[in-house]
Amino acid sequence: MSIKRIAVGAFALATVAASATLTGAAEYKVEDEAIKASLTGKAGDPDNGKKVFLNRKKGNCLACHVVSSLKDQPFHGQVGPPLDGTASRWSEGELRLRIVNAKALNEDTIMPAFYRKDGFHRVLKNFKGKSVLNAQEVEDVLAYVMTMKE
């Protein structure tokens, strides 16, 4: 990672912390490139998380990521990195920030922010003022992703 990239990351992190309050989503604090506290104060449910992860109208995570343990599911995408072993590479807080708003770490990423309600351009009516996932769904997906250890 170049120095420039780190600088961009730090700048984005600062703006995220501020915009979290502005957008009206439940507040969260970003520190050390992570959101350390649960968004709901509750632990996530990995079983429901798996459902949300697979649901094409919710997480739809396989559209972009390969997960070897989900081989029974068809059509894993190649747009993002494979998630095998991701929980051994990143802490829970780091993964939470990636799901909530990956642009805090890479402003040019294709990955949608799954927990952001507004500040978008020309959102379709049905999705206006809504985040892709609600806070508990983020925690549930996270709990499921945390099972992906090497």
């Binding site: 396989l62 559209a63 059509f75 747009v79 040019d108 294709i110 922010a113 351009h121 959102v123």
Partner: protein
């Protein structure tokens, strides 16, 4: 000693494997690739390409034939057909598919083939305009663009077209919708990667109107724009709108040099 030899053999195998992989990746796509620009043809499955390659199999040709009939069909109060003024399309329309959209000085804006046809119908033929993705419009656009079949895309983006080009480029790179993606995130950054069951293409426009197997009919480039916009949960613009005209110019520019493939076949 024995062990060392094995290691060396292993290294040798890797070294040999690398060039063979590279040879495989550099497939020769002929006219469908110009520099790093690749037609959607090169991302399509072999079965799909085979349908496009055979004029008798290609269902888009039915619309080309329909357009050919319309070309000489009198319509409107002025009692004219296209042929009344434009004679032989293979002669008069031969550079249209490769150069549109163009800036039309007489109306002071950018115009694509669909909008030009409707202007001709209302102003010259005194006929009703066609709906954008109607059978007649798709037929006529397919027939007109077919007259440029195989010609390299060559749109003009300077002069009066420059502000439209800039607007199109801006659109292309603007994130939109709840999924917050710009055209470029899929079609520049991820072209060639699988998203679900589909390989992302460069989003080239040189084959439109394109027969989509999913649609079971041809569709306009603007219809495709609408589909893409809705997929990222963004409010689409209208077909034929200024926003999509500008985007069409930018997309065609991205494919500069690729051959006109109308009617292309895609999944």
């Amino acid at each position: 000693m024995k062990r060392k030899a094995l290691v060396l053999a292993g290294v040798g195998a890797v070294a040999l494997a690398v060039p063979s992989v590279m040879t495989f990746a550099a497939e020769d796509w002929g006219q469908y690739q110009v520099g790093d620009k690749r037609s959607g043809y090169t991302f399509a499955k072999a079965e799909t390409r085979a349908i496009q390659d055979d004029d008798f199999e290609n269902p888009g040709m039915l619309w080309v034939e329909h357009g050919e009939e319309l070309w000489e069909t009198v319509d409107g109060e002025a009692q004219k057909s296209c042929k009344s003024c434009h004679a032989d399309a293979s002669d008069t329309m031969k550079n249209v598919g490769s150069t549109y959209p163009v800036f039309a000085k007489d109306i002071g804006k950018l115009e694509n083939v669909e909008n030009r046809i409707n202007r001709c119908r209302t102003d010259n033929m005194k006929a009703k305009p066609w709906k954008y993705d109607s059978r007649n419009m798709l037929g006529m656009v397919s027939y007109v663009k077919r007259q440029s079949f195989g010609q390299p895309m060559n749109v003009k983006v300077d002069g009066d077209a420059a502000p439209w080009f800039e607007k199109g480029k801006e659109f292309y790179n603007q994130r939109r919708g709840q999924l917050d993606m710009a055209c470029k995130h899929c079609h520049v950054d991820n072209a060639g990667n699988m998203i679900r069951a589909n390989t992302l293409s460069q989003g080239q426009g040189n084959g439109f109107p394109t027969y989509r197997l999913k649609w079971q009919k041809p569709g306009s480039l603007h219809r495709r724009f609408r589909g893409c916009n809705k997929q990222v949960r963004a409010t689409p613009y209208k077909t034929g709108s200024d926003e999509y005209l500008a985007l069409e110019l930018y997309v065609m520019y991205r494919g500069q040099g690729l051959p006109v493939e109308t009617p292309a076949v895609r999944n």
